[in-house]
């Protein structure tokens, strides 16, 4: 308990650093681009249009017939998945890329994976403007359950942070992890039911998909936003459980190894 309080005090002291690092990331990401932060909105929008064209126009059979409001369905899945992919990928290399800093001054090292996850999250929140735009454009109904979407979103944040901490630790010791993760997330994308209705898949695929936590976050989010239904008990449990487990494991692994980092950077 005492160590937890100590941890929190340390964090509180460095909250401005967290803020400054996030704002640095935004500045550098959009420096010298004319549209700037608008890309956070435009990018998912354009991507969604591409996918819509492919799975709505070219291969409509692939996605399954009875999806209500396909553009929104796509966009929800895509935004959440991109958040997960972006934040974990950035968090993974964050400790490595900040090696010059870590080798020279003392700062709590978890601040870097945390910062990248926050950056991904803020970026994702900007992207929700795209979602609102598409909802307006397609005249979709706004359900009372909309605020419930916060739950899958926040638990996904915690889950991503946990995964990011583990990846960041592994990357310090083995750079291979970066390449493997890229392939892995691509595979994961196809098993996250982003552009198809899992109900129309064969039985084993349906079962298999259920082992993918990302599927649960996306489905929970969609239920609140599109279907106007509350979250089912299993959704609440799986989303929350995975998040807590990932974070606990991530903190454990990170804390155990962080003193060795500087020797390998």
């Amino acid at each position: 308990m005492a160590t937890l309080k100590c941890y929190f005090n340390g964090f509180w002291r460095y909250r401005y650093l967290l803020y400054n690092l996030i704002s640095r990331d935004f500045k550098l990401k959009y420096r010298r681009s004319v549209l700037g932060v608008a890309w956070s909105v435009l990018n998912p929008l354009l991507m969604m249009l591409v996918m819509w064209a492919v799975f709505g126009g070219l291969f409509p059979d692939l996605r399954g017939g009875d999806i209500v409001n396909y553009p929104i369905f796509l966009l929800c899945g895509q935004l959440l998945f991109n958040f997960f992919r972006e934040s974990t990928t950035l968090a993974m290399s964050s400790v490595l890329y900040n090696a010059p800093l870590l080798r020279k001054v003392y700062i709590p090292k978890y601040i870097f994976p945390l910062e990248k996850t926050c950056f991904g999250f803020v970026n994702c929140c900007f992207s929700f403007i795209a979602l609102v735009l598409v909802m307006l454009f397609t005249l979709s109904p706004v359900h009372l359950t909309l605020p419930l979407a916060i739950y899958p979103l926040l638990t996904l944040f915690v889950f991503s942070l946990g995964v990011g901490l583990v990846l960041a630790t592994m990357t310090v010791f083995f750079r291979d992890v970066m390449h493997m993760w890229e392939v892995f997330t691509t595979a994961l994308m196809y098993f996250s039911a982003i552009f198809y209705d899992p109900e129309m898949m064969s039985g084993w695929v349906q079962q298999f998909i259920k082992f993918n936590p990302i599927y649960w976050y996306i489905t929970g989010f969609r239920r609140a936003v599109i279907n106007g239904e509350g979250l089912s008990l299993s959704m609440i449990l799986v989303c929350g459980g995975c998040a807590v487990a990932a974070l606990a494991f991530g903190l454990f692994v990170f804390k155990k190894n962080q003193d060795k980092f500087v020797l390998y950077l």
Binding site: L17, N20, L28, Y106, I107
Partner: protein, 247 residues
């Protein structure tokens, strides 16, 4: 006011590094090494059984040849490295000036970097706001405030870094060869500022290859050779001995 508790006490500290060529940067290398049964790393001790005590108010100098372990010792003290064995206890806030420009992002402007680096050192933005003028004044780089740092010369970077790190009155100031970058005017300015901090009660730990500077500024000196403390004590004695052997 003077108490007898050392503000920094380094107690039998050793620092072991795995030599770079034995680092396994990819899984394949790792498993190859594992298969060949030589996963034991080549070990290298940058510090061996170092013990030092620095009293509050000391102006402590560290001297030694290149690669003797001075910077490593400073990093152990400032908490960047955790010693492989031994303990290091520090009783106060540290302003680290180890390799200037740590915490700077070369793509950002000086203005942005002042805020970023300030928060790296644990200051609040409000505090930096209030000291901003002073920093700019001290570094004399007002005309370059909105230029990305990558277009600065190394001396200019050093000026900004020194100005930021010394805006508070830290309990301990750790300076690793920073004075060697700036021009002589700036060096004088830095020295004056260090002296001023000193008279305000700050303990200073200084590494420099300029032995006459150490003699002039420090009251105590430790001479480090190949990771061991070869000699420590009053500045004049140690410097004299050091000059004897390196002549």
């Amino acid at each position: 006011m003077e108490n007898n508790q050392p503000i920094i006490s380094v107690d039998h500290v050793s620092m072991r590094f795995n030599l770079s060529k034995e680092k396994h940067e990819s899984l394949k290398e790792y498993f190859l090494a594992l298969a060949k049964g030589r996963l034991q790393f080549d070990e290298f001790y940058a510090l061996r059984d170092v013990s030092l005590k620095v009293m509050p108010g000391d102006f402590y100098g560290l001297i030694g040849l290149n690669g003797s372990g001075k910077s490593t010792l400073l990093k152990v003290i400032s908490g960047v490295y955790k010693p492989s064995s031994g303990t290091c206890r520090v009783g106060g806030t540290i302003a680290p000036l180890i390799e200037l420009g740590a915490g700077f992002d070369m793509d950002l402007t000086a203005r942005e970097n002042i805020y970023l680096n300030g928060t790296v050192l644990g200051f609040t933005p409000k505090y930096i706001d209030s000291k901003f003028e002073e920093i700019v004044e001290f570094s004399e780089l007002r005309d370059f405030l909105d230029v990305p740092l990558k277009n600065y010369s190394s001396g200019m970077v050093a000026r900004i870094a020194f100005a930021i790190a010394t805006i508070t009155k830290p309990d301990i100031l750790i300076a690793d060869e920073i004075l060697s970058v700036g021009d002589f005017l700036f060096q004088q300015k830095c020295e004056a500022r260090m002296q001023r901090l000193m008279s305000g009660g700050t303990t200073v730990l200084l590494v420099s290859h300029s032995i006459e500077q150490i003699e002039r500024m420090c009251n105590k000196v430790a001479w480090i050779e190949k990771g061991r403390v070869k000699m420590d004590g009053p500045a004049a004695e140690v410097c004299a001995a050091y000059k004897q052997t390196t002549k």
